[in-house]
């Protein structure tokens, strides 16, 4: 086992662990949906009474599902930033990046719609606020909001369509995209799962290194290609189930323990931790610039950052795929990105005050500017010696 810190082994196994988590979420979700009632009046009770207290092990399914989603997003961010760090979005890796970004957007949708289902206060107002964002679409915003909600405000009709999205549409889309993202067809066609020492398929793909790699001895597939990811998954699952049984407050917020009340907004709304940075982006532009409303700028910044991530292969103009620690400018860029994301996440959880608004404005501006600067930075880099 080569467990040196410099090998960043966690980055190699996030994908495998996420697949395991997906399966856990799928199974626990199936058992939850057997007792959940997607109805505005009955949803809260069916979750908090039926599932949590009356069904055998219902509490276990729900905790696995909630903690599983939280950990899934944590790993998703580690995975995404890690690939960003190693430049795994360029030159032959673009398809993985783009399919991964589609997965990321699908996960946002499935996470958000799932959060609405228990119909607590936070669920309801999250749905109300997030669907209101669509009003900012120029031209037909209000009609689109009406169409998405299926009602004048979030109601049982909205709940039912979110439920359908959450348990059918998005899981199917995610399954298909995961298969694409992992090159499953190619893998299946070229790998011999052999018990007879036929060996592991070694891909002939060119590396970024100019030197030829010495051909490897074929090894038995089973213990060589399975055991290390299995160890990673085991270590992760130990942590995961420790959190499921002893630290469920990581995923359950007390504010969501009151049933939804359409006429009473909680004074301090915040989403789950993985959406906090986006919320802070929205809130950060608290003043109008000339004719443009501040909320419009917040909305635009959200679009800019996400589209910027999506278009990384085009924005990074350095022709070589090398890790960030060999690219001084990009290294600074990368850590600025990470720091502003973490900063925005922390600020998103705090109640708004003058200070947090200004710090938030600073981080939001940095985050937006990063994506505008990147082409010039990376262009400069390709001339410099690196």
């Amino acid at each position: 086992m080569n467990l040196k810190l410099k090998n960043f082994n966690i980055l190699l196994y996030t994908g495998a662990i996420m697949v395991v988590l997906c399966l856990l979420l799928l199974v626990s979700g199936i058992f939850l949906s057997m007792h959940y009632i997607p109805d505005a009046e009955k949803a809260f009770e069916s979750v908090h009474t039926t599932i949590m207290q009356e069904v055998n092990y219902g509490w276990l399914w729900r905790k696995i599902h909630a903690l599983g989603s939280t950990f899934f997003f944590l790993l998703l961010y580690i995975h995404l930033l890690g690939m960003l760090y190693f430049g795994f979005y360029k030159h032959g890796k673009t398809k993985y990046w783009y399919s991964g970004m589609v997965l990321y957007f699908c996960c946002m949708v499935i996470g958000f719609t799932g959060y609405v289902l228990p119909m607590g206060q936070m669920s309801y107002w999250a749905a109300q606020v997030i669907t209101s964002l669509l009003e900012y679409i120029p031209g037909a915003g209000e009609d689109i909001v009406l169409w998405v909600r299926g009602d004048f405000s979030v109601s049982g009709i909205t709940l039912l369509r979110f439920y359908t999205l959450h348990i059918v549409v998005m899981p199917l889309a995610i399954t298909l995209m995961v298969l694409t993202h992992t090159d499953f067809v190619k893998w299946y066609a070229t790998t011999k799962l052999s018990w007879n020492r036929k060996g592991l398929h070694v891909s002939k793909e060119e590396r970024f290194s100019k030197h030829d790699i010495t051909p490897k001895e074929p090894k038995p597939f089973f213990s060589n290609a399975i055991l290390k990811p299995l160890l990673a998954c085991t270590l992760f699952l130990a942590l995961f189930f420790y959190c499921v049984f002893f630290h469920d407050e990581l995923a359950f917020d007390a504010l969501n323990l009151t049933p939804a009340n359409p006429s009473d907004t909680p004074s301090h709304i915040y989403p789950e931790w993985y959406f906090l940075w986006m919320l802070q982006l929205l809130k950060s532009f608290f003043f109008d610039i000339g004719m443009i409303k501040g909320s419009y700028i917040g909305m635009a910044s959200l679009v800019v950052v996400n589209v910027g991530l999506l278009l990384m292969p085009l924005l990074d103009r350095n022709p070589r795929r090398i890790p960030a620690h060999q690219r001084p400018y990009f290294l600074a860029w990368f850590w600025a990105l990470v720091v502003s994301l973490i900063g925005l996440t922390i600020l998103g959880k705090l109640p708004s005050s003058t200070l947090t608004l200004w710090i938030g404005l600073f981080f939001s501006t940095v985050l937006m500017a990063l994506f505008f600067i990147l082409p010039f930075l990376s262009g400069k880099e390709s001339h410099a010696k690196s």
Binding site: V27, F31, M34, H35, T50, Q53, E54, V55, N56, Y57, G58, L60, W61, F222, S223, L227, L230
Partner: protein, 166 residues
């Protein structure tokens, strides 16, 4: 296969098997009826609330239940009556023993008549006319002071079962 490798593989297999066993057990258990459904497992009947010489209707485990409280003025049936205090009680699950419809009590002929195939029972639940051959089923019960607990096996029920065999 190399000995160490075999050891690792078999211990992994054993570990996986154990995990799968308990996981599947958990899944099966979570599909058992939740507590809310188990509320119907037993029905409590207060015998003083029942009208004399009339059929009363209750439900037990989502099935209809016919109760007849009677004195000696009606036909008694050793095999089907429970004597509590001065009165006799007959308990029946109100499901026709032919094909499972619910018979209706016809007060003019004093019989239970099943609308589906015209099966007929007397008010003690004994089968009278074809197509029915078996009497209405007596559910398990337990007599507790002045309450009949339907759904729990008690001494009186066992005695009744003995009597019906004779």
């Amino acid at each position: 296969m190399d000995r160490n490798r075999r050891l690792v593989n078999y211990s992994l297999l054993a570990l996986t098997g154990t995990g799968v066993y308990y996981t599947v057990g958990t899944m099966f258990q979570s599909l058992e009826p939740p507590k809310k459904a188990l509320l119907d497992a037993a029905t409590f009947i207060d015998i003083n609330a029942l009208p004399l010489n009339e059929i009363s209707y209750r439900t037990w485990q989502k099935k209809p239940l016919f109760i007849l409280k009677k004195d000696a003025s009606l036909t008694l049936d050793k095999k089907r009556d429970i004597k509590i205090g001065d009165y006799y009680y007959t308990l029946m699950v109100g499901i026709c023993t032919h094909l499972g419809c619910v018979p209706k009590y016809d007060a003019t002929v004093k019989r239970f008549v099943c609308p589906c195939h015209n099966g007929q029972f007397d008010y003690n639940g004994n089968a009278l006319a074809s197509p029915v051959t078996k009497p209405l089923v007596i559910p398990p019960f337990k007599v507790h002071d002045e309450t009949i607990i339907v759904g729990e096996v008690g001494e009186a029920y066992l005695q009744l079962m003995e009597a019906s065999k004779a």
